[in-house]
């Protein structure tokens, strides 16, 4: 149509303006939606945390300033929830990354029957967490009749107080989360191992003296971006965990498995104390933002 290839590439100002207008028009609905339904509520959350908002006694609602936060600092249940959240998040993410990486390394190259394994590991991830939590609470971890407990008895380990004893309960909800989400780490690591360029990998593998060196000095540096991404994704999801714990233990026994999400939920929607609940929610928001900022730095500096 025009004379040369170079002619086409030069953009006319009217074309640029048209593109800009079009671009804005295409993103406006979703950006508007996210602003109204996500950004605005989060600002409102921070605002709410300065009030006493008790739905059971609306007449007493008033501006409190920072006293919700002062209460929080002295709230031993909050401190306990923080501790449980930290244990839960760190251990589930660690277990997922290590197990996922070990399994991916095992099946990398010597991988037959891919489809069958892929469906099996896909299953837990697409199930409703509430069904997973309830299934573990009943048919899997019930003493004697639960299949896991039954297997333990048959193997001679004896029946275990999976969800009844405080320490076992925390261990069990960590296992449930790890069971449901290790497949994600496994699949991501497997995909990134398969995407590695073959020749440099072969050359480096020949140089390495033993399999431990092969892994530590050759493969791990190459898939580091994937490890960082899995860390980010899984930490964010672990910090959002709710339904599986809520249905498996309800935060109990006592408050043994009460992560910050559950405490915030109970305070807001069981005690209907929305002001203090909003302060707890704000604390969670701050924790999430700080952790994601650390991760963003990590990603930028390593890649």
């Amino acid at each position: 149509m025009f004379k040369g290839g170079g002619e086409k590439k030069r953009l006319r100002p009217s074309y640029i303006r048209q593109q800009e207008r079009f671009g804005f028009a295409m993103i406006t609905p979703s950006m508007l939606f996210l602003f109204i339904m996500a950004a605005f509520p989060l600002i409102m959350l921070v605002g709410m945390s300065g009030f006493r908002i008790d739905l059971t006694y609306p007449a007493g609602n008033r501006w409190l300033g920072v006293s919700n936060y002062l209460q929080m600092v002295h709230d031993s249940r909050f401190m306990h929830a923080l501790k449980v959240t930290a244990i839960y998040t760190v251990s589930t993410v660690f277990l997922q990354v290590v197990t996922g990486l070990a399994l991916a390394m095992t099946f990398f190259r010597s991988f037959r029957g891919q489809g069958f394994l892929r469906v099996s590991v896909l299953l837990p991830m697409i199930l409703a967490p509430v069904v997973v939590g309830l299934a573990f609470r009943t048919m899997i971890m019930t003493p004697q009749y639960g299949i896991l407990d039954y297997i333990f008895m048959v193997l001679g380990f004896g029946s275990k107080p999976w969800l009844v004893d405080p320490q076992w309960a925390l261990f069990s909800v960590i296992i449930i989360h790890t069971w449901q989400w290790t497949p994600f780490a496994f699949l991501v690591f497997l995909a990134s191992l398969n995407a590695l360029p073959a020749d440099p990998l072969e050359a480096a593998l020949m140089d390495a003296r033993n399999s431990w060196q092969r892994f530590w000095h050759v493969i791990l540096p190459m898939i580091r971006p994937a490890v960082v991404i899995v860390l980010i994704f899984r930490t964010m999801i672990a910090l959002r965990a709710f339904a599986a714990i809520f249905s498996a233990t309800g935060g109990g026994p006592g408050t043994a498995t009460e992560i910050l999400n559950l405490y915030t939920y109970r305070e807001s929607f069981n005690s209907l104390n929305l002001g203090y609940g909003a302060a707890l929610g704000t604390a969670l928001l701050v924790i999430t933002v700080v952790i994601s900022m650390i991760f963003f730095r990590m990603r930028q500096s390593r890649m």
Binding site: I16, F24, M31, A38, T106, R109, Y145, F242, T264, S292
Partner: protein, 281 residues
């Protein structure tokens, strides 16, 4: 090949070990699901028989009981309405945004797409407290619209990002011919670009549907007797009585069935969509 150096017996041992691990993995991850399905087909006495039976005469009595109890059937219908609504509206706003972010130049593009990423990280419990208050003021508690809008805060951000990666895979020359011929940008998007990413739109729709279908926290806070979804309804079973494993598993199977069927049909695409963002970095 580093592994060629191994002696034959060691290689044989190695593949034997890998194979047993393979079987073990399938058992660990698929067995709980299979066990739920098996239990849903057992009679009440069979469920509590020790040692547990794998072969038995199946019964559908729990399914009949559950479907006759209005609560569960209604929950499933509600879940279906909410999940379909969420998927539809998510695609309507996220697909155009994904297209603009990946292929159109406009100011603040980087910042706005980063905002979409941030929205993904908002803690749900922090979001639901103000949303509960807003929706109760608007008298929208226990309505489909309210729950769909809140579910979309989960699905819109990741749908935009997923669509960006699918649009980026298209050749850069795709729109050029149409634009030179004077076709408007929107028509180019609709008639030239979109037909090339139906696969990606399908995967995004699957993810959005599953997310909304499985969602529990927002549903338990925002719904009442009218719009209670299936995950909320199933919770009611065991809250009332611990040992009703038959009806519980039957309901569980009905909640799992649609996503399992989708997973069987589209497993390749789902796994690719899940790992795509991570492997591209």
């Amino acid at each position: 090949m580093a592994y060629r150096k191994m002696p034959a017996w060691l290689r044989g041992l190695r593949s034997g070990l890998v194979f047993s691990l393979y079987v073990f993995m399938i058992l660990v991850w698929a067995f709980p699901v299979i066990w739920v399905i098996l239990t849903s087909l057992k009679t009440r006495t069979e469920i509590f028989t020790l040692p547990p039976t794998i072969f038995f005469k199946p019964t559908i009595e729990h399914y009949i009981e559950v479907l006759l109890a209005q609560d569960i059937l209604r929950g499933i219908i509600n879940s279906l309405l909410v999940a379909c609504g969420t998927t539809l509206f998510t695609l309507l706003i996220a697909v155009p945004a994904g297209y603009a972010f990946s292929r159109i130049r406009f100011p603040f593009r980087g910042r706005l797409s980063f905002f979409a990423l941030l929205a993904q990280m908002a803690p749900p419990i922090g979001l639901i407290i103000p949303c509960f208050l807003i929706l109760s003021r608007l008298r929208m508690l226990d309505t489909y619209g309210g729950l769909i809008a809140v579910h979309m805060t989960l699905t819109v951000p990741f749908s935009i990002w997923l669509m960006i990666t699918y649009f980026q895979d298209l050749p850069p020359s795709l729109e050029e011919a149409a634009l030179v011929d004077g076709v408007s940008p929107f028509n180019t998007f609709l008639k030239v670009v979109l037909p090339n990413v139906w696969g990606g739109v399908g995967v995004t729709a699957i993810f959005a549907f599953i997310e909304s279908w499985n969602e529990f926290l927002y549903a338990v806070v925002l719904t009442g007797s009218k719009t209670k979804t299936a995950p909320v309804a199933i919770f009611g079973f065991l809250a009332a009585e611990e040992s009703r494993w038959g009806p519980f598993t039957a309901t569980g199977v009905m909640i799992m069935a649609p996503v399992i069927m989708v997973a069987l049909v589209a497993q390749r695409q789902i796994v690719k969509g899940m790992t795509m963002g991570a492997t591209k970095g």
